[in-house]
Symmetry: C2
Subunit: 406 residues, 2 copies
């Protein structure tokens, strides 16, 4: 007998029929002899509708009141699921975040979980009940209701799993797991059985939006085994867990592409201390998220600095950079939105050499020019022309032997 | 500076425009220099929609889960009103029943308020804030959310007013006060400025459904001054309060009619001890609410017993009575649904004699036959043919000098 935390998103409980399907899934897990804690998001469009209602009375609603309003969405879905489980003859009880002992800080609309006192949840599990908890919410030190930030329900599920020392936290979504590459682009992409937390974090930050980074970080921190799986079919998903030695046998776990990047190059920057610092300080102040940074070797006391930013921040970057050019005595700047970032990720890189070489060779053989390179311990990213992005993914997927027979 | 508790029902906050009107009303009271606590019901059809949703997953939902579900309705309306007040520049904070310190028993869907700890409400009032509290709900001893029974939001308002020692509890409705008679039947009916708790209780039980009896009883018990007024216009309503000597100068405060009654007569019942007891015990067991009871004088050791029941309970009464006839050796029973109960109510009756005489004379002058009579200290009710009900109201309204010039 194991303890599972099962999290279902809003689209999984969009209407009564969906709720019945979720109830059946939860009930079956219980019938198999396991304890189950369910974490739910608000039903379908509920949150959007509540936001629209709030805008009707106040274009800039107070965040504490917004939380008071939005927290009702999850409260509806948990009670409805409890009723559906009762109708099947199961014992079940719903709980708000505060009732489940979830304590947050006071940062309304983007609160962080500070701790969980799972006493009441445990008590009810001991009575043989399925416990259904509102995702996305908790109680502040001043007894106010707060909602968590993005991916809040995933975080609730992982935090509860950690507090309850659950055997696994299952995140049900509309995809059936994590893939070696986007299957819409790379038909030979295959679903992964397992992936290490760090690999998942790198892939998530690269736009493979299966799990929010925050909940993966949380799972890593507390050693919670995650499973990403579909709520529409009955088959195993991808397990995200602690890195084990075995995992290093695979050099590259997945290939990811990020087409929402732009490249900024500042030409002929005088090569003296403090220039780069000033530049990136100003960009941070303008709320521009700089990703890759490359500085070429200095020539005649001058250098070129290139960096990438999210494409929708390129105008903010331009105003900042253009304002700085004269002050730093640079020749000029170019802004290029026709780029893409392609990355390979794998903990196996730590113990294998020649990975970068294999990557660059595969790309050059296919006449794909590499414009920027950035590496971390388990990831290599390159910037290329965006027109070659999909082809680069294909090429790298094949080069690192990720292609699966269909 | 006074402290007002203002309660608005679901139709008063049905949509954003309604919420704005309520916000303006509350804001104006605050601007006049008063402290304001607002109690709200769920917006418009919210509760009905939530009930319909629950029925889709479970035809007989668990009551604890039902409360969890329905309590969200009020939570939406209080946060939305807070936002609307913020938009007007007012300081306001919303609270759930539990946050406002409302403690109930564990009788889910029909809980009773056991006590209120208004600390948090007081604290916020002291900060100059308008405090908006969810009606209809509270927290049970096991930290579950419970909803109150019928008229729950009125009860919340009255209980809060008592706990806060508010100067007045204003119940905003779609009528502008309590009338001497139903103005749709008696055009000369006038709005009352004041009415005693006991008079209001008698009128409420007679079908003048302006206030639920339960909240009037609560107000009486704790000496809370109530005001019934319309949310659509700005004018004083009717104040319900402790009886003062002055009130006795008016003999009859109002005339009420109840057309939803039926009369049951059991003929030739042997006049021996225990027969009536058995009869009414069985009716109570069958969940029949008996109202007036009349037993005529005994003749030849036999008597007729008549009583009234709500019209929609007459079939239940019939099965019970028919089953008993033989056992109590009665001759038979008649069931008459063409009756109406007309009542006059007034604390002045205590100190004035001849009130019954004036009532019967007024009716007989108009050839309206009285079939049953029942009296209490401040009320006289008669049963007549239903066809004469409206005429009887008119006649009595005039006879007791209640007609107002239009």
């Amino acid at each position: 007998m194991a303890l599972f935390v099962q999290k279902f998103g809003g689209s999984s409980v969009a209407d009564a029929a969906c709720v019945h399907r979720v109830a059946q899934r939860v009930y079956d897990t219980k019938q198999e002899g396991h304890d189950v804690v369910v974490v739910l998001s608000a039903m379908g469009k509920t949150t959007d509708n509540l936001i629209a209602l709030s805008r009707e009375v106040n274009p800039q609603p107070d965040e504490r009141e917004m939380d008071m309003l939005l927290a009702t969405g999850e409260q509806v879905s948990v009670s409805i699921l409890a009723m559906a489980l009762h109708a099947m003859g199961a014992e079940a009880i719903s709980m708000t975040g505060p009732q489940a002992g979830i304590a947050t800080d006071s940062a309304h609309t983007k609160a962080k979980i500070m701790g969980i006192n799972p006493e009441r949840v445990v008590e009810n599990l001991k009575k043989g009940r399925i416990v259904i908890v509102c995702g996305f919410q908790g109680l502040t030190p001043t007894a106010d209701i707060a909602t968590l930030g993005r991916g809040g329900s995933d975080t609730t599920a992982v935090a509860l799993a950690a507090a309850l020392k659950a055997d696994r936290c299952q995140i049900f979504t509309d995809v059936d797991g994590v893939y070696t590459a986007d299957p819409r682009i790379v038909p030979a992409a295959g679903k992964l059985d397992t992936i290490a937390y760090d690999e998942m974090l790198e892939l998530a930050s690269l736009g493979a939006k299966v799990l929010q980074s925050r909940s993966v970080e949380f799972a890593k921190k507390y050693g919670v085994e995650l499973e990403v799986l579909t709520s529409f079919e009955r088959r195993p998903g991808t397990i995200v867990k602690e890195e084990v030695e075995d995992m290093e046998n695979v050099i590259v776990r997945g290939v990811a592409v990020d087409k929402n990047q732009a490249k900024v190059t500042i030409q002929h920057v005088p090569d003296r201390p403090g220039v780069a610092a000033k530049l990136f300080q100003e960009l941070a102040a303008a709320n521009v998220n700089v990703d890759m940074i490359v500085q070429n070797v200095s020539e005649k006391g001058q250098t070129d600095i290139s960096f990438t930013v999210p494409r929708d921040e390129v105008n903010r970057a331009r105003s900042t950079v253009d304002g700085l050019l004269e002050g730093i005595a640079a020749a000029g700047a170019t802004y290029d939105v026709d780029i893409a970032k392609v990355s390979i990720v794998g903990v196996g890189m730590r113990s294998h050499s020649g990975v970068a070489y294999r990557m660059f060779e595969a790309l050059s053989t296919n006449k794909i020019n590499v414009e920027m390179i950035s590496t971390s311990e388990i990831k290599i990213s390159v910037v290329i022309r965006s027109a070659f992005a999909d082809q680069a993914m294909q090429v790298l997927h094949t080069a690192f032997e990720l292609d699966q027979e269909s």
